[in-house]
Structure formats: C-alpha cells, structure tokens
Symmetry: C2
Subunit: 218 residues, 2 copies
C-alpha cells in the first residue's frame, strides 16, 4: 500500500470514529445508558462491523463517548478563556459563553455522569481529575481577576468557581428551552459579573443593555 493510500485509510478511520461518536451522542440523548450498538451504527450509516473495529463492545463505546465528550468540553472552555488571560471581564464572558454552549451540546451525557451504571465503566480517579480540571478553568479566571484588582478580593475563588460551573447546567435546564442561548449567555454573564466585580461591576458595564443612558432621574 502506498503512503497516500495508507493516509487515506487512516483519514477514513478517523472520520468513521468521529461519525460513530457523533451518532452515539445522538442515540444517547434518546436512550441514555440503554443505547444499543445497532442503533448507533445505523444512525452513523455504517455497518455494525465497522463499529466493532473501532469499539470492541458497547462498554468501550460508552467509555469512548464519555472521554471524548469531556475532552472536547474542556478544550472548548480552555480555548475560550485562554485569549483573555489579561482581561478578567472578557475571560468571564468567554467562560460563560463556552460553559452554556457545552451544556447545550452535551446535556444528555452530563446529566447521567453520576449514574452508578456509568460510574462502574469509568476510572474513578480519572473522573475526579476531570472534575478538578473543569473547576480549575473557572478558578483561574477568578484568581486572575482578584490579582488584577478587578474582582472582589474577599471572594473564595475555588467556591466561586464551583458556583459558576454549577450555574451552567442549572441555568440551561431552567431557561434553555425558552430563551435563546445568546441572550442567556449575556444575562448570566451580567449577573455573575455584578456578583464578582468590585463595586458591583456597575462602573464597567458601559454599553450594557441593562443600563439605558438617560433613563435615570425621570
């Protein structure tokens, strides 16, 4: 087999794997942990044999789905926050946008992460490490904001990080069906900003839709 042929085969395999995982996520949203490999293969429009070449069995597929999902969610949040290391306000805004987006994308899977059946499939140490990695993203934003004198120095960064990370699932569950994601992002960011910024963040919210110039003193 030529080098080019090998590369193509490898590219196909990568595509099939990605397609199978995307299909698994879609089936998971309907069936949860009862997901059947046949449904995943047919959703991905590949034969079951192809599925088994990538994932030895149903458990392997579920494990790969969970690992892949968390990897991707964490990467999305990291990439969103990273460019704003020097701007805590922009970092918080990017964190909220990525956090809500990731909820919308993966809610069905996040929702059952603590199911005993799923936990049996997964390495508990890895799950713990993963939780910490997510929390660290929000804690980093808090710590840099406090150091920069933008966020209140009396805030516990780790606890605030847990509150912020927890707000994504809760806000998405309560309002995700009735409010557009872009609006939700903006409203949640403004609320969290007011809560963590020095002097309630009012001074820096110029241009915010919540403040209408000329609407005071009437």
């Amino acid at each position: 087999m030529s080098h080019v042929e090998k590369s193509c085969k490898r590219a196909d395999a990568v595509t099939n794997r990605a397609r199978l995982l995307a299909a698994a996520l879609a089936v998971f949203a309907q069936s949860g942990l009862d997901l059947e490999v046949n449904d995943v293969a047919s959703q991905a429009q590949v034969g079951v044999g192809t599925l088994y070449r990538h994932f030895g069995n149903r458990e392997d597929l579920l494990r790969a789905l969970v690992n892949d999902t968390f990897e991707d969610a964490l990467t999305q949040i990291r990439l969103a926050v990273q460019p704003h290391m020097d701007d805590p306000r922009a970092a918080l805004e990017a964190l909220v946008a990525a956090g809500l987006r990731v909820q919308q994308q993966y809610r069905s899977l996040f929702a059952v992460m603590r199911d005993p059946r799923l936990k049996k499939l997964l390495d508990p140490a890895r799950g713990e490490a993963r939780r910490t990695q997510f929390l660290d993203q929000a804690r980093g934003v808090m710590e840099r904001g406090i150091q920069a004198g933008i966020f209140r120095e009396d805030i516990d960064p780790e606890l605030a990080a847990a509150v912020i990370m927890g707000s994504f699932a809760s806000v998405f569950d309560h309002f995700g069906k009735i409010t557009a994601l872009a609006e939700l992002e903006q409203r949640l960011f403004q609320l969290l900003w007011m809560m963590v910024a020095k002097e309630g963040g009012n001074a820096l919210l110029v241009g915010s839709p919540l403040i209408e110039p000329g609407s005071t003193g009437g």
Copy 2:
C-alpha cells in the same frame, strides 16, 4: 376489626411504606435505575409480597421514590425558608443550609433525574412543575430581599435563583467529601451573601469568621 386494630394496621402499612422507600433510596445509591425489588425488600427486611402490596411493580416503586424524594426535599426547603420571610439574610442562610442538606440526602437520585429511562416513567408536566416549585423558593428569597432593600435591586431574581439552586449540587459534588457540611453551608452562604447583598454585604457580616478584627492595617 375494632377501630384501634384498624388504626394499628394502617400505621403499620404507613411504616412499611416509609421503610420500603428508605430501603429503595439506599439500594438506588448503589444500583441506580437498575435497582431490583428483591434487593429493596431484603434491605427493608420485609418480604417481596409486602413490597408488592405497596408498589405494583418496579416502575411504581421508582415513581413513588422520585415523587416522595422531591416532595420531601421541597418541604424541607419550604420549612427552612418560611420562618424568615421578614429577614432576607436569615432566609438565604436557611435556604443554603436546606439546599446542601437535601443534596447530601438525595444526591444519587437527583443525579439521574434527567436519565431518559427515568423520564419515561415520569409525567413530564409534573417534572416541569416541580422544577419551577424549587426555583420559586429561591426566587421568593431574592424578591423579598430586593423589596426590603437588603439585596441589590439590579439582580435578576429568577436567574439568581437558578444560580443559587445550581450551586448546591455543584458545591456538594466538589467539596462534599472533603469538607464538613456545616462548614460548607457557612462558606457558601457567605459567598452568596456577598454576591447578592447591597454594598457586598460587608456591613452586616459582623462576627463572621472571615473577618478578623484587628487583622487589617498590619
């Protein structure tokens, strides 16, 4: 059968039902939605026949467990908050204490509430109504605090309620194993209080362990 005998029989039935539901919760923490009626009966130290007199089948038992759990959790939060209608600070403190306590008690069940298998068993309208009832408890605390001039008037009470309710699961998941519940309650309350109270709540936090008199100006 005499009136007294009838009452005793009824009291026994109530006790058995409560015992079976407590056993179901314990089994659920281990097995999740795979819970087996035999395990529940043996955990409750009653025969399977007794179980089937109370719950027609496995699905009935699961449904009763979910309904009972939410009923109890909501009642605990309501009873905690109600005595403090006139004191938003005490109401927030009571809400946080009850919210974390309820997480500790029912985490395994709350964790799979969005599992498609469980959702199939439950009435979606009832689930939605229940979510709203929980949110309303926190929203009520926020609204009364804003009206009383204790909480910041620029806070969106409904969104803040979702952030607060979401913080209980997240904070419990992250710190519940390493921090005593009483300490966690105190720290989370102080963080939320600082975030929602006017002027960052500093003026009213006299006596807080976070403020050490004489520690400034060094």
